[in-house]
Symmetry: D2
Subunit: 149 residues, 4 copies
């Protein structure tokens, strides 16, 4: 889907916000690309982020796709708006086995207040790319007040 951003500097705005998320640095996530309504975040496998079987923990899979969805919504917001994730649902399709993980977040519907986004996570493995998770997330544009849910 094609979207017209409300702010021409949306890509820089997304990059600045991403850089301020300390947790993204902590887990080693990187912002791969930013388009209007579509953001990609990558993460290399790291043992510090595993669950009991040695795979990437579902919470980290969730973290990168949740961020990709939130920033996809943020990319279409006015320059002065803040972004607030209201809720999301994630389904895990396969164990998070791979050398690298790539989360895509895309805006499905951008409303004045509520934006609906979808996301997925692909594991890059020796045998090729494999989808491991899918998300449906609701994001709010906050323009006129302190963030308080």
């Amino acid at each position: 889907m094609m979207f017209t951003p409300a702010d021409n500097d949306f890509a820089q705005r997304v990059r600045t916000s991403f850089d301020r998320q300390r947790v993204m640095q902590t887990i080693g996530a990187e912002l791969v690309s930013v388009a209007a309504g579509e953001v990609v975040i990558g993460l290399a496998f790291r043992e510090e982020l595993t669950q009991q079987h040695g795979y990437l923990h579902a919470a980290i899979v969730t973290a990168i796709v949740d961020s990709a969805c939130g920033f996809a919504a943020y990319s279409l917001m006015p320059a002065t708006a803040a972004v607030l994730t209201i809720e999301f649902k994630v389904n895990f399709l396969a164990p998070a086995i791979g050398e690298r993980f790539v989360a895509h977040g895309r805006v499905m519907k951008a409303g004045r207040t509520v934006t609906v986004t979808t996301g997925d996570v692909i594991a890059e493995t020796a045998a090729g790319p494999k989808p491991i998770a899918t998300m449906l997330a609701t994001v709010m544009t906050v323009t006129d007040r302190p963030i308080s849910g």
Copy 2:
């Protein structure tokens, strides 16, 4: 709700599995308590885990409650079973501002294959406890095959 565990050593089994989740050590989460069908995980605020406004990132809030729900389900499973999170939904109720965060996971319905759990996260603040997130999660008991979703 009262549940009868299938395995008397359930608490030790949950603790062992928790200790094997490298990501829980990485973020500094600790297992507070384990009962049959109910698990509590705590996390002290850390700047490395923040989002752009300096609050705990929603992904970390999600990580502790997702784990609490998964381990609550796991506590009722047979000793030889593995636990697999099929999906979850989380709603964020307020910004994650606080000194410490406590996630409670509880089993709502334990089926032979599918267990439904609920969870919530409470922020401990100077002004008292405050609910910041609620989760509804579906967990699978895997007994007869390698985990593959």
Copy 3:
């Protein structure tokens, strides 16, 4: 949880809105009770509403609990506001076998714009009450514009 309604006539307002939902009459649902932030809807079993095994269809189970959640949120809104369901998730806990089904909707957090609600459906059977579904729903207060999502 105790809530203070913004509109003292909330119960009448909910009843009027319920009566205008033609689909509730079509399926035979009735408004059992209205309190501030809590609404109960009942439905007697009817063969016209069944799925392929002769149980109440999951869509009808969903319909009554979705309405109970929406009206629970609506009960706390200002007199001039409209209610809009943004999204919900429902887990089915057991087949909808019973003579009557009762859906409870409750507000968990009432924000200025976004209200988070939970709901459940109990089947009344010869063997006693049995939970068959649980819901987590997000509802929006619309005050200043035509409803458009």
Copy 4:
């Protein structure tokens, strides 16, 4: 995505099961098409199915897309299996205004026990087609026991 059905008579099996869902006749839904892993259900606008503003009730929008998702999953199951919806989430994108509504359900990942599906509902209006809802649903293949969740 292309799927190979486990049962060559899947289309007839889906049609037979759809015809047994009394509620689908009650609301006037029809099975538009059945392919392996993809099912389309249509519904003409009817006043008996409206909410308080005269639009199609969200519960009916949900009913047709929930069924489309469930039957999409069922189309890939073995001939002797039963289908059980574990849970779903639906986001409403726009009011259900239109002359006719078409729900598409598609399998995203068909596992041995758990199938993940997505669905959407398009309203046919004088101004053209408009997406009004999107769903992410988890469906279970039941092969060896009475349906009990």
